[in-house]
Every structure is written in structure tokens, then in C-alpha cells.
């Protein structure tokens, strides 16, 4: 057992645990349990907002899978990863102030709440809630598996044991602390990721004998590693560019990201978050993936992609520093899982249970149900992850792409196009998810259709469906009624 490495990881868990307790204390003196538990009472400041967006979004695929792919594929994969910089400012600017103003007025606590008020349709609510639960459940499972594998690779624990530690740690603070605990721990985890990545990059560059030296080694091994086209020249410009939809601008359709765009306290927080978010996303993505490429000459012959970061950290750093650095991917995984868990819980509790089963629930009852469901969902994910499917990164991307195709247009048009209506929203979701699954299966069997990522066409199709069906059925403008509260 490597205690020097484990120490910082355990330290992280302890601190997080106390943040959970602190958050649940703060909750006891608020008036609306739902708004507090699922949205932190809309009181996030700039730093926490930027960090929680980055951390929610940056998951095990950015910290383990992504650098692992860069290790195999070379600089082309770093180029691809840099399409994520746009998320640092795009989501907040585009959803922006209108989303914040409107959701406050509507008293929306979840993204689906907003859709419910905007489209006035039970079908929209149920469709959205089901897609959130199904897709994010699989995304969550993928993250837990990543977290458990990481603990497993650093310690002598078995996979199940590692999963258990991981699950208990996350469950406790999410269940008792709600959104505020998630956001505050995200902020801390974001800072750990940022600093951890920086330290590791410097260490890898030193171990490789400087940037120039590393690139010489790469070129002499395989010149394709330093081109934008990947180790075997198969990474086309169209394919790489299509990731701008999947992990760039399309992120706006992810409920776990969009819900954060309604959680900040005022426009100054949002402005600060824009700047901090862009810096943090940009540098973390650049550094993390560069580490993957640079690790190749330093430590050749790593077979399992997810092992690149743990192995290179243990190789180039003193073990206690490696422990701190390896807390970064751990933090990335936790900060994604916690947000997803809370979101799935909010879809079940707020969007289904309170809307349709028990609208007149008391404060106490809501509290019991929220906490109870969060716990039950967490435990189900744990059980499912014990015997998990492979291909972590694909499972994760499948969930992301499907949700983006479903939600991007109902959210964006709902906000900015007055003729958007429920017919458009429903058809857009059905077409988006449906075509995503079909094209995903086609691409898995035959290679990428037209050389671009699966997500591209479903997003396009759902756009056409949205506009077409909105105009076809009922051309009636919708105005957000701000004047009279209802």
C-alpha cells in the first residue's frame, strides 16, 4: 500500500466530507427546500460558478481517457481537445442573462422546469425527464467505473472495494449537502485539477529533457504524431471539427451544464465566471492532453489508455506530490458524478414526483423525498457499476451526444424564438435521440458517416424538425410574462 500517494487522496475525501456537512447546515435556514437543494438558492459567485461548470464538464474522459488517447494518437488529439475551450464562455454568454432572468421569474429549479413553463406540455416534461434519467444514468455509471479503476490502480484494493469507497464518499456529501455542497466541492476540485495539471506538465517536460527534445523523440518514432492528422494519418479535418459540436458549442444542451447557468447570484458573478472559466478550461484541456503526448517518449509502451496519467505521475514526481496530482482526476470524476447524481434526482423528484404525483407536498415531505431518492439512485448506480461494461469513453460520449441532440434546440429556441412551441420541442427531441441512436449504430458498424462524429447529423435533424414542426402547427408567439407574477 502506497501511503504517500494515498494520503493526499484521503485528505481530499475528508475535506469534501466536511463541505457536505457545512452545506447541509446552511440549508436548514432557507425557505424553499427544492431551490436550495437542487440549485443552491441561486447564490453562486463568479469563481464557484466558473469552477463548477468546468469541473462538471471535465470528467474522467478529460483526465484519463483523453490524455490516454493523446498518448496514442499524438498532437492531433490535443487539437481535437482544444475544441472545448469554447465551452468556457459560450454557454454562459448564450444562455446568459435571459435564462437567468426568465428562470427566476418562473421559479424554475431545473432545466426541465423551464421547458415545462415555456412549452406548457406534459409530453415535453416526461420526454425530457426520461432522457435525463436514462442518459445521465449511463454517464454516471461510466464515471464511477473510472473512479474505481483509478483507486484500484493506485492501491491494492479490489475493484469492488475501490468502487465502494468512491461511492460512499460521493453519496454522503451529495445526499446531505445538495447543490451547494456539489458546487463548493467542485470549486475546490477545479482548483486541484488546475494546479495538479500544471505541476504534472512541468514534471513531464523536465523528465523528457525539454519540449524540443520531446518533439525530436516523437518525430523519430513516428512523424505523424506531431501532425494534426494522428499517428496513422486517419484523423480528418472534418472529423476533428465535428467535435466542436460534441464537446464545444453543443454542451449548451447538456442539462447538468445548463442548470448551472441559472444558479448564479448576479450579473457580476456571471462576468467573472466567463473570464475564469475560459482561463481554466483552456489551460486544463491544453495541459492535460499535452501531458498525454509528452508522456510517450518519457514512458513508452503503456497499453491501457486510462493508465497513462497515473503511471506518468508516479514516474516523474515524488510520491507525495504524485498523490496530490492524482487527486486531480479523482476530483474530476467526483465533480462530474456529484452533479449528475443530483440532476437525475431532480428529474425524478421535482420534474416527475412533485409535478404529477404529489403537487401539494409539504416542506418536510419534499426534503425526505429528495434526500431519499438521491440516495436510492446513488445505490442503484453503485450496484450496476459492480459488473460494468467496457469502453468508458464511448459510453460517456454516447450519453453526452444523445442529450445534446435532445435538448439543444428546445432550450435555445425556447429562450430566443417566440414561435417555438411544444410541437417543435417534442419532434426535435424524438428526432434528435432517435437519429442519434440509429447513426450511432450505423457508425459503429460501418465507420463514421461522411467522416464526422455521430452527433453532427442528429443536431442538424433536430434543428430542422424543431423549426418545421413549430411553424407547421401553431404559429402563435410566446412572451415571457415578466410583469405579473402568477
Amino acid at each position: 500500500m502506497n501511503w504517500a500517494v494515498l494520503g493526499p487522496l484521503l485528505g481530499l475525501l475528508v475535506i469534501i466530507f466536511f463541505i457536505g456537512i457545512w452545506s447541509s447546515r446552511r440549508m436548514s435556514d432557507s425557505s424553499s427546500f427544492l431551490s436550495d437543494y437542487y440549485l443552491g438558492n441561486r447564490q453562486l459567485g463568479g469563481l464557484v460558478l466558473a469552477m463548477t461548470m468546468t469541473a462538471t464538464y471535465g470528467s474522467s474522459s478529460s483526465f484519463l481517457g483523453g490524455p490516454g488517447a493523446a498518448y496514442d494518437i499524438g498532437l492531433g488529439w490535443v487539437l481535437l481537445a482544444m475544441s472545448q475551450v469554447v465551452t468556457g464562455y459560450f454557454v454562459l454568454l448564450v444562455l446568459g442573462k435571459k435564462f437567468a432572468i426568465v428562470t427566476r421569474k418562473m421559479n424554475s429549479v431545473t432545466l426541465i422546469d423551464f421547458l415545462k413553463e415555456r412549452y406548457q406540455s406534459t409530453t415535453v416534461v416526461l420526454l425530457s425527464a426520461i432522457s435525463v434519467v436514462v442518459f445521465l444514468f449511463s454517464a454516471m455509471a461510466a464515471q464511477w467505473i473510472g473512479g474505481a479503476h483509478l483507486i484500484e490502480s493506485l492501491t491494492d484494493l479490489s475493484y469492488t472495494g475501490a468502487l465502494f469507497i468512491f461511492a460512499v464518499a460521493v453519496l454522503i456529501y451529495v445526499i446531505i449537502g445538495g447543490f451547494r455542497a456539489v458546487a463548493v466541492t467542485d470549486a475546490m476540485q477545479g482548483i486541484i485539477m488546475f494546479i495538479g495539471t500544471l505541476i504534472l506538465l512541468v514534471a513531464v517536460v523536465i523528465a523528457g529533457g525539454g519540449v524540443q527534445n520531446i518533439f525530436n523523440d516523437l518525430v523519430s518514432e513516428n512523424p505523424n504524431l506531431v501532425t494534426p492528422f494522428g499517428n496513422d494519418g486517419s484523423l480528418s479535418a472534418a472529423y476533428v471539427s465535428s467535435f466542436w459540436i460534441l464537446v464545444g458549442v453543443g454542451v449548451i444542451g447538456l442539462p447538468q451544464v445548463a442548470v448551472r447557468a441559472m444558479s448564479y447570484s448576479n450579473s457580476r458573478s456571471m462576468h467573472r465566471a466567463l473570464v475564469i472559466g475560459t482561463i481554466v478550461v483552456g489551460l486544463i484541456m491544453l495541459n492535460m492532453h499535452l501531458i498525454g503526448v509528452f508522456a510517450r517518449p518519457v514512458l513508452p509502451g503503456i497499453e491501457v489508455a486510462d493508465q497513462v496519467i497515473p503511471l506518468i505521475a508516479l514516474e516523474t514526481l515524488p510520491s507525495w506530490v504524485a498523490g496530490i496530482v492524482l487527486a486531480a482526476p479523482m476530483a474530476a470524476i467526483m465533480s462530474t458524478v456529484d452533479s449528475l447524481l443530483l440532476l437525475v434526482s431532480s428529474a425524478v423528484v421535482k420534474d416527475i414526483y412533485i409535478n404529477y404525483v404529489k403537487p401539494d407536498a409539504t416542506y418536510k415531505h419534499v426534503k425526505k423525498v429528495s434526500i431519499g431518492f438521491t440516495a436510492i439512485i446513488g445505490i442503484i448506480v453503485f450496484v450496476m457499476s459492480v459488473n460494468p461494461p467496457e469502453l468508458l469513453i464511448y459510453l460517456n460520449l454516447f450519453a453526452f451526444g444523445g442529450l445534446e441532440a435532445a435538448f439543444i434546440w428546445p432550450v435555445v429556441f425556447g429562450l430566443y424564438w417566440k414561435y417555438a412551441n411544444k410541437f417543435g420541442a417534442i419532434s426535435s427531441m424524438v428526432v434528435g435521440i432517435g437519429s442519434y441512436i440509429v447513426i450511432h449504430l450505423y457508425n459503429t458498424a460501418n465507420g463514421e458517416l461522411f467522416g464526422v462524429h455521430t452527433v453532427t447529423f442528429p443536431v442538424l435533424f433536430s434543428l430542422i424538425a424543431f423549426v418545421g414542426f413549430s411553424l407547421l402547427f401553431k404559429r402563435e408567439p410566446f412572451y415571457f410574462s415578466l410583469k405579473q407574477a402568477k
Partner: protein, 93 residues
């Protein structure tokens, strides 16, 4: 007829959403232009800046820095502070 969509804050919000799109388009062009403009020749002909291949240096490293500076400028000079809660309800924190 009253048009609630004419809320003065929505004009600002719409403008800022368009700024967001403009930034993303610029970001994409910069990223794509340098990466494939400089990176498409055979690797033997690459030039290097601070040890990095020039296409990567300009597209990814300088690209990130440019976007950070642009976002700072936009935030400082183009975005406006607006209140999120209007008088009623006293939800002012």
C-alpha cells in the same frame, strides 16, 4: 398591445448571446486556420516555435491565450450589468 418581450434587459441579453456566437466563430476560424493552414504539409517541412510545431503553437497555445484576452475585453467593455430580480418579492439576497 403590451409586448413583455421588449423588456430592456432582453435586448442586452440578446446582444450578448450574439457576441457569444461571434466569439465562437472567431475561435473556430483561428483554431482551424492555423492548424490545417500550417499543419497540412509533410512533417519534415514543419517549422518550430519554442520547440512546438508552428501549427500547434499558433492554433492551440496562442489560440487559447487570444481567446482569454478577447473574453476579458468583451467582459470589461461590452457586457452590461443588469438586475435579475425586479422590485417585487424582495428576493434580493
Amino acid at each position: 398591445m403590451e409586448r413583455p418581450d421588449q423588456d430592456w434587459r432582453f435586448k442586452i441579453a440578446n446582444r450578448e448571446a450574439l457576441i457569444g456566437c461571434a466569439l465562437a466563430v472567431f475561435n473556430f476560424i483561428w483554431w482551424y486556420g492555423f492548424a490545417y493552414g500550417l499543419g497540412s504539409k509533410p512533417p519534415e517541412e514543419y517549422t518550430y516555435v519554442f520547440g512546438f510545431p508552428a501549427w500547434f503553437f499558433w492554433s492551440c497555445i496562442v489560440g487559447v491565450l487570444v481567446m482569454i484576452v478577447l473574453v476579458m475585453v468583451v467582459t470589461k467593455f461590452f457586457l452590461k450589468d443588469v438586475p435579475f430580480d425586479e422590485d417585487e418579492e424582495g428576493n434580493q439576497s
